[in-house]
């Protein structure tokens, strides 16, 4: 009796099932909204993106990157060779030997996966993921043995001899297990789904600009015309923001499916660490439940702090905040992007969170706590605290600042931001003005013509208010001539630099938008400011999220501090891994309770450097860190530190 047909038939069956699963999975993603991506170009660029962009992130964990290269590389190679050698029966010893090599490579990689899983860190998911290393071993090992005859090591037909029944049965079982996980599971929702969805996500990512070292952090504008030209007949398609999973763009859905549940995002998330009900990994898994339908009973990772797993239900047509994700989870996020920065699959958590907030704010009118009041103020007075718009320049009553409406043009437009209304922030503004004057910079301010940048409104989900402010600001800007905008507020900086461009104005064409630390660094490097060295003890630097991760500026503030002779005592979480102060994304406004305060946790990290002074580059960070109870190190903006060391010319 001959069983020669058995293994090819099994392989063919597994592949056919995999294809059916893939078609089904693709149709789940296609329930999402259309998005402009070049499909062909994306597919062509995919291997390169895998090797560079994805691996650059994985590389941060050397152990995992080597393990993944061996396992993943070995698998892809083996899969191709298996089809050639065992399915199409190509009679080539070279191919068979290659298959032996690739499956051996995969086997070795799988051993390391196995080792990592022996004592897994809490951030990674368990459940089916614990089975994966064994499945990898089964797949690699069984195909290694199956290939031995083809490579001429064992006699042809050896494995199918009647005397080796037991071996055949065991081998066949392992092959079925291995292929079940690797081929069938890949497209039917097993752990290997990450390879299938992840590869396609690299190809069709919504932010193609991110690849090749680019940065793409500005939120995408909401199309408001859907309510302005309201048509009741199609009203269910005309929701603002995301109510149901199918309201996401299709490639966002694809992105959620790519998650490997590695929990790197969870380990970075300040809200999670503070015990607020947010865990970015769980959130992405809930989105997967939403797109595929079902509940979270099988989820085997850390929960949202304070919330039990097992009660979330969702489906593509069900409203997400009715039973899948609670609004508090969405409002806990500070939009710090630490999760996005850390995610090896390049998933965009912040986009998703803000999309869902947009629905809560613009459709339901349910922005928690101070949210509604702040938004009302922004709309009625162009600043979040409802101050008289005519008092915006009161802080500079004694500063004699040139105002654009008088001078019409200047080299630098100093964007003051809403810090103008806050007494603590005014100290930063004054210091910066002092430096500008000392360096003889030709600058001007907009005065009362300046409006809130729209940052808070946008992060709170009110894109209508954001777009309104942005358009009016752009109109004001278009009246004057300047070559640079410099601001002390990283949030305004981000809006002006990365988000205003989507609103169809050319007011900022050819204009360089700079953060004050970047600009001051240029001045110092050019010798325009004479500064004394600083000897006020140990100094550490806190990277503001909207300066660092959002805009890639890590160096200028450090260079400035070094130019004062300061040796920075770096915190463990610094640079692109800096931890948020807790002040972004409207989080202080929505104020979702946790077990700790994010600012307190950050101050502990400051303390562990032994610093007596923490330098920041953001008025919001200043406010958050100074809100920590004393005793604590002093908090100063870099502009304040520099102004304190300025050697003033005496005339």
């Amino acid at each position: 009796m001959s069983f020669e047909w058995l293994h090819p038939a099994l392989i063919a069956t597994a592949l056919v099932l995999a294809v059916i699963g893939a078609v089904r999975r693709v149709s789940l993603w296609r329930a999402g909204q259309p998005d402009q991506v070049n499909l062909m170009a994306g597919l062509m660029a995919m291997p390169k993106r895998y090797l560079h962009d994805l691996h650059d992130v994985v590389e941060r964990d050397k152990y995992m990157s080597k393990t993944h290269a061996a396992t993943g590389g070995g698998f892809v190679l083996s899969a191709v060779l298996i089809i050639l050698v065992h399915l199409f029966d190509v009679d080539s010893q070279i191919l068979a030997w290659a298959l032996l090599a690739s499956s051996a490579l995969m086997f070795v990689g799988a051993l390391f996966v196995f080792k990592r899983r022996l004592n897994p860190p809490s951030r990674i998911s368990k459940g089916p993921w614990m089975r994966l290393p064994k499945s990898l071993l089964a797949f690699a090992g069984s195909f290694f043995i199956l290939t031995l005859p083809a490579a001429g090591i064992l006699p042809e037909g050896f494995l199918l001899q009647t005397g080796n029944v037991l071996l055949t049965v065991v081998l066949t079982a392992l092959i079925i297990w291995g292929m079940g996980e690797m081929f069938f599971g890949m497209s039917w929702g097993g752990p290997m789904k990450h390879a299938f969805a992840g590869a396609l996500h690299l190809a069709f990512h919504r932010r193609q600009e991110r690849f090749g070292g680019g940065r793409s952090t500005g939120l995408k504008p909401v199309d408001l015309s859907v309510v302005e030209e309201f048509n009741p007949a199609t009203s269910d398609k005309q929701v603002l923001g995301v109510a149901k999973p199918k309201d996401f763009k299709w490639n966002q859905l694809l992105g959620f499916d790519a998650c490997v549940q590695c929990g790197r995002c969870e380990a970075m998330c300040p809200a999670f660490a503070a015990g607020q009900p947010l865990n970015p990994k769980k959130l992405i898994q809930d989105m997967v439940i939403g797109l595929a339908g079902g509940d979270d009973a099988k989820y085997a990772g850390s929960p949202y702090p304070g919330k039990e797993v097992g009660n979330a239900k969702g489906g593509p047509e069900l409203i997400i905040t009715d039973g899948l994700v609670s609004p508090e989870t969405l409002w806990s996020c500070t939009t710090c992007r630490a999760c996005v920065e850390e995610c090896p699959m390049m998933i965009e958590h912040v986009d998703a969170i803000v999309d869902m907030r947009r629905f809560l704010t613009m459709e339901k009118g349910e922005t928690p706590n101070k949210g509604a009041e702040i938004l009302d103020n922004i709309i009625a007075t162009d600043n979040p605290n409802g101050y008289s718009p005519a008092s915006r320049t009161n802080w500079a009553a004694d500063q004699n600042l040139p105002v654009m409406s008088d001078v019409k043009q200047a080299e630098v437009l100093f964007w003051v931001s809403d810090g103008a209304f806050d007494m603590r922030s005014q100290r930063i503004l004054r210091s910066f003005v002092k430096l500008l004057k000392a360096a003889n910079v030709d600058f001007a301010v907009l005065g009362d013509e300046e409006l809130d940048s729209g940052d808070v409104a946008r992060r709170l989900g009110d894109d209508a208010a954001f777009q309104n402010l942005a358009k009016r600001n752009l109109e004001t800007l278009s009246k004057y001539k300047f070559s640079k905008i410099v601001t002390t507020d990283p949030h305004a900086y981000h809006c002006l630099r990365n988000e205003y461009q989507d609103l169809g104005s050319n007011a900022l064409d050819g204009v360089e938008v700079l953060h004050h630390t970047t600009f001051l660094n240029e001045l110092v490097q050019a010798g325009k400011l004479r500064l004394d060295s600083f000897n006020g003890g140990t100094v550490t630097y806190h990277d503001p999220c909207y300066l660092g991760r959002y805009n890639g500026e890590y160096e200028a503030p450090r260079e400035l501090l070094r130019s004062l002779g300061i040796e920075i005592a770096e915190m463990e979480r610094s640079g692109f891994r800096s931890r948020c102060c807790g002040g972004g994304g409207g989080a202080p406004i929505t104020d979702i309770p946790g077990e700790r305060r994010i600012a307190d946790m950050r101050m502990e990290e400051v303390n562990s450097t032994g610093a007596e002074l923490v330098a920041v580059g953001c008025q919001q960070c200043t406010a958050m860190l100074e809100g920590v109870a004393e005793p604590r190190p002093e908090v100063k903006d870099i502009a304040e530190i520099l102004a304190g060391q300025l050697i003033e010319e005496v005339h």
């Binding site: 459709e363 007075t381 008289s388 718009p389």
Partner: protein, 259 residues
């Protein structure tokens, strides 16, 4: 038949920026109307006398109203005759307004004039409508310093809503933009009196500094919370209705309210 509640809304004005907005008290009148709708299963009509193109109306609609009714009036028209005429025929049971408008004349007279025209009682400065049974509403009036007075008022009536009433819910952009705002022809009567007026900006007057006499925190707290000690007037509880009425009549004569 379900109760018919009408909330009147006007164009507000932000105290700092002077920009048009949803008026504080009118928002509360809508909020109260929306809550009654849930509790009493009543019908709510939100009504504005003015221009249906007014963008501020969308901020009322954003509270979750599918539609707003507008009595189309021009700038110089008087709102009261139009509103009165509409309400007369609208079968309303309860009319809710703000205490006074934030823009325009802001005299606070609209609820009074409407009540007079309709011949209904006016309930000023209410904080809440607790219940409505058998055509009688239990109402809480807002008194200074957080005090409340419960009164029963038979339907129909006009009530002005105090700042002590529940705050207006958040307004959402989407529903606001989608709401149907329906303009209706209305009785127009030019406000002749107003036409003759001249308007000018108010000048800020210097404020008299308050001398704080209290020495301790306890004193300050007392000063801030104690009931004003009225010197004149008396409380009559046990006297007969006739005696009470006579006393009121006497007072009105003394104060030259009636002659």
């Amino acid at each position: 038949m379900p109760l018919n509640v009408v909330s009147l809304v006007s164009v507000g004005r932000h105290p700092q920026s002077g920009r048009q907005r949803r008026a504080e008290q009118d928002g509360r009148a809508v909020e109260l109307g929306m809550n009654l709708k849930v509790v009493q299963n009543s019908q709510l009509t939100v009504l504005h006398a003015g221009a249906s193109s007014e963008p501020v109306l969308r901020t009322y609609a954003g509270m979750g109203l599918p539609e707003l009714k507008v009595l189309e009036l021009a700038e110089q028209d008087d709102a009261v005759p139009a509103l009165g005429d509409y309400l007369q025929s609208a079968n309303a049971d309860i009319v809710l307004t703000g205490v006074r408008a934030e823009s325009g004349e802001s005299s606070g007279m609209v609820p009074y004039l409407l009540a007079e025209q309709l011949g209904w009682p006016l309930v000023p400065r209410i904080a809440d409508i607790v219940s409505i049974d058998d055509g009688v509403a239990e109402i809480l009036l807002a008194l200074p310093r957080g005090q409340r007075r419960a009164v029963s008022v038979p339907l129909p009536f006009v009530a002005s809503v105090d700042n002590a009433a529940a705050e207006a819910r958040q307004t959402a952009y989407g529903p606001g933009m989608r709401a149907r705002i329906e303009g209706n022809k209305a009785v127009t009567e030019v406000d002749e009196v107003r036409a003759g007026w001249q308007e000018s900006d108010a000048k800020p007057r210097p404020k008299r500094l308050k001398v704080v006499k209290a020495k301790t925190a306890a004193d300050r707290f007392k000063a801030a919370t104690a009931k004003p000690q009225g010197k004149a007037g008396k409380v009559m509880k046990s006297e007969s209705a006739k005696e009470q009425a006579e006393e009121i009549f006497k007072l009105l004569l003394e104060e030259k309210v009636i002659k």
